[in-house]
Structures are given as C-alpha cells and as structure tokens.
C-alpha cells in the first residue's frame, strides 16, 4: 500500500466540506514523518515505508474520523435530500402534457425553470444518496466504477436536458422519469438537433442503467444491512434494466420500448429512493445526536 491508497481509505466518504482539510492535514503529517526519517539516515524508500507504517490501520482511522464528523444530522439531511427527486416528480406529474413552449411564454418559462432545477436537484440528490449509502455499506474503491457510470450518465442527461430546454422548438409531450429527470420523446422526431439530443440522452441513460445494476451488486456483496441492501439490489436491477430498455427504445425509435421502460423506471426509481430514505432514517435513529464521548 502506498500513501495515496492509505489516504483514500482513511478519508473515504467523509463530509465533503471537511474532506480536503483532513486530507491535507494527514498528508502534512506523513511528509513531516518522512523528512524526520530521512534526517535519521533512512533511505527515501525506507523512510516512506516506516512513515506509512507508523500511521497505522487506515480503516481504523477512517472509523474514528467518521464517528467524529458524521452525526445524526448528516443522516437526517441525507433523508431530506433523498426525498427531493420524488417530490419533484410528484409536482411534475400534473404538468405532463401541458408543456407548450411557444404558447404562453411566462408559463413556458416557469415549466422550463422547474424542469431544469428539478434535473439539477435529481443529480445532486442521487450523488449524495449514493455517497451516504456507500459509506453505510463500507464500500471502498470497488464501487468506483459503477458510481462513475451513474455519475457520467446523469451528467450527460443533465446537460442534454438543459440544452434541450434551451434549443428545442418541438412541442414535447414529455416523458419524465426518475431518477434521470430527462426528456425522452414518445413520438418520432424530425428535427436533427432533437434527434441528436435524444440519442446522446439515451446513451447517458444506458450508462446510468448499467451503473445502477453494477452498484446494486456491490451493495448486496457487503455484510452489513443485508436485508435492505439485498432489496436495493433488486430495485436497482429492475430500474437499470428499465432504463436500458427505455434508452434502447429511444435509439431505435421504437416507442413501444419507451412506453414499457418509462413507468417501470419511474416506479422503481421512486422505490429505490424510498429505500434510501428508510435506510438514512434507520441510521439517523441509531446515531447519537451529540458529539462522541472522549472516555
């Protein structure tokens, strides 16, 4: 193990606002120790090895730092954040079919802003929920690939959604789906820019779907919270397949597939976030509200 690996393990999933400062502090300690061992006459390689050994078990340090920096309020906050995409969808559902960009400019603007903000909230909420879930599951580097796939896919869809809102002259009868909050058309597109946006969005959706399936597998392989993570795996698997189906339908312009994929991804997306909420609620209940005792 080198120092970078040690540092990543020791600071894994700590609160973002403290993460960089803690990493810099531990790095400073390590570099000071290496300097001291060099002055004592050790070779550079040996100095690094001894300095790293003296830091001790990275997982134990991580547990200690988590117990200090992650409190009940972190879980309550995660619970509220996880509620947001579902709340956005619930607010949006009555609007489906009413988007007329070229009719009432003010109403169109309100809808457009609502969708753009909802899409951003959904991406943010998904990232936060995954980070908290990984922390609870003690997932390390092994979950990096699926998490990256989910993030990359979501970012592609977010950008495409905003470009679509800005550029498209098509009056979409939009299909909105959780957890992507992305427009997918349900009728053939004629405008080349709409087709490109739809294809790129579909690619992002497919990447996200694969990410959810792989992430569910990683969660189910952990030894903690077995029942809830096993259930999450099933939900993520179905949601992932539905997203892939939906994306395939958009790419092939086969709107029977999108018609099947949309409600399934919507329902299982909401169920997945509901389970996140239950998980964070349980963790919050089992975490003391006050700072840890020093005894």
């Amino acid at each position: 193990m080198n120092f970078d690996t040690w540092l990543n393990t020791a600071t894994q999933n700590l609160p973002i606002h403290r993460l960089e400062a803690i990493r810099q502090e531990l790095t400073g300690h390590y570099l000071d120790a290496v300097d001291d061992y060099l002055l004592q006459g050790l070779s550079p390689d040996n100095a690094r090895v001894v300095a790293l050994r003296e830091l001790g078990d990275a997982s134990a340090v991580c547990d200690g730092l988590r117990s200090v920096h992650i409190h009940q309020k972190e879980y309550w906050r995660a619970m509220v954040i996880a509620c947001m995409p579902t709340a956005c969808v619930m607010l949006f559902l009555p609007m489906i079919g009413q988007i007329r960009r070229n009719d009432e400019p003010l109403i169109a603007l309100i809808y457009t802003l609502f969708i753009a903000i909802s899409a951003i909230i959904t991406v943010w909420s998904t990232r936060h929920s995954i980070r908290m879930t990984s922390m609870i599951a003690y997932l390390g580097d092994e979950a990096d690939t699926p998490i990256s796939l989910i993030k990359i896919g979501l970012w592609i869809m977010l950008v495409m959604t905003i470009i679509n809102l800005y550029m498209s002259q098509t009056i979409f009868i939009a299909i909105i789906n959780t957890p992507t909050f992305t427009y997918m058309p349900n009728s053939p597109l004629n405008n080349p820019s709409d087709i490109i946006i739809s294809m790129v969005s579909a690619f992002g959706m497919m990447v996200t779907g694969i990410g959810w399936i792989l992430y569910g597998d990683k969660l189910a392989s952990t030894t903690t919270h077995k029942s809830i993570f096993s259930l999450l795996r099933i939900l993520m698997l179905i949601m992932g397949i539905a997203l892939i189906l939906l994306a395939t339908g958009a790419i092939l312009q086969d709107y029977r597939l999108t018609a099947i994929g949309t409600p399934i991804s919507l329902i299982f997306g909401i169920l997945t976030f509901s389970l996140f909420i239950i998980l964070f609620y349980q963790m919050g209940r089992n975490t003391p509200p006050s700072r840890p005792s020093l005894a």
């Binding site: 001790g56 078990d57 134990a60 200090v68």
Partner: protein, 107 residues
C-alpha cells in the same frame, strides 16, 4: 505500550498543548519522546481524538502553510484548560490510589 492508551490520549494531548500550540505530528512525537517510547501508538489514531476535542470546544485550530505544507495548529481553549485541570486532579487521585494498593498500603 497500548494499555488503555486510547482512553488517556485526550488527557495527553491537552497536557502537551498546555505548553503551547502545536500540530498533530509534533504532538505525536512529544508523547512518544516524553514517555521514552513507552506510550507507543499508531499516529493516525491521533486525528480522530484531536478532531473530537476540537468539536467539543476543548481545543481550537488554525491552518498555517509552511514550506508548501498545510499544518493545522491546535491550542487549548479556556474550556480545555479547565478540563485538563480536572482530569489531572482525577489522574493524581487515581494513580495515588493504585500506588497505595501496589505498595501494600504503605504510601
């Protein structure tokens, strides 16, 4: 020696900081040197304790950049000074009692 060191670490840190502000690496080094290596511990475990003390208000911290490295200097707060006095008194009482028992009640 790791015997109950985890429980004593906050007291040792507060005592080191009574002599003036310092950063984590120096605090760890002082503890090891002043105990002549008897109190040996893995240095990474110092930071959860330092951060817990900070979050409790026993110590405060400021970042300094020295030679391109960020060092977080800790210092005792008034609350920390009071805690240190109380814990030192408690430690004296405890160690005297143990010594009396070990010496067969002669102390």
């Amino acid at each position: 020696m790791n015997m109950n060191l985890k429980g004593s670490l906050p007291l040792l840190i507060l005592r080191i900081l009574q002599d003036g502000e310092n950063h984590g690496y120096r605090i760890a080094k002082h503890i090891k040197e002043q105990s002549e290596g008897v109190l040996d511990f893995k240095e990474g475990t110092l930071y959860p304790t330092l951060h817990a003390l900070e979050s409790q208000g026993q110590i405060s911290a400021t970042d300094h950049i020295e030679n391109g490295r960020t060092r977080r200097y800790y210092r005792l707060t008034d609350m920390g000074k009071n805690t240190l006095m109380a814990q030192l008194a408690e430690w004296e009482r405890f160690s005297s009692a143990v010594n009396r028992v070990l010496s067969g009640g002669e102390a």
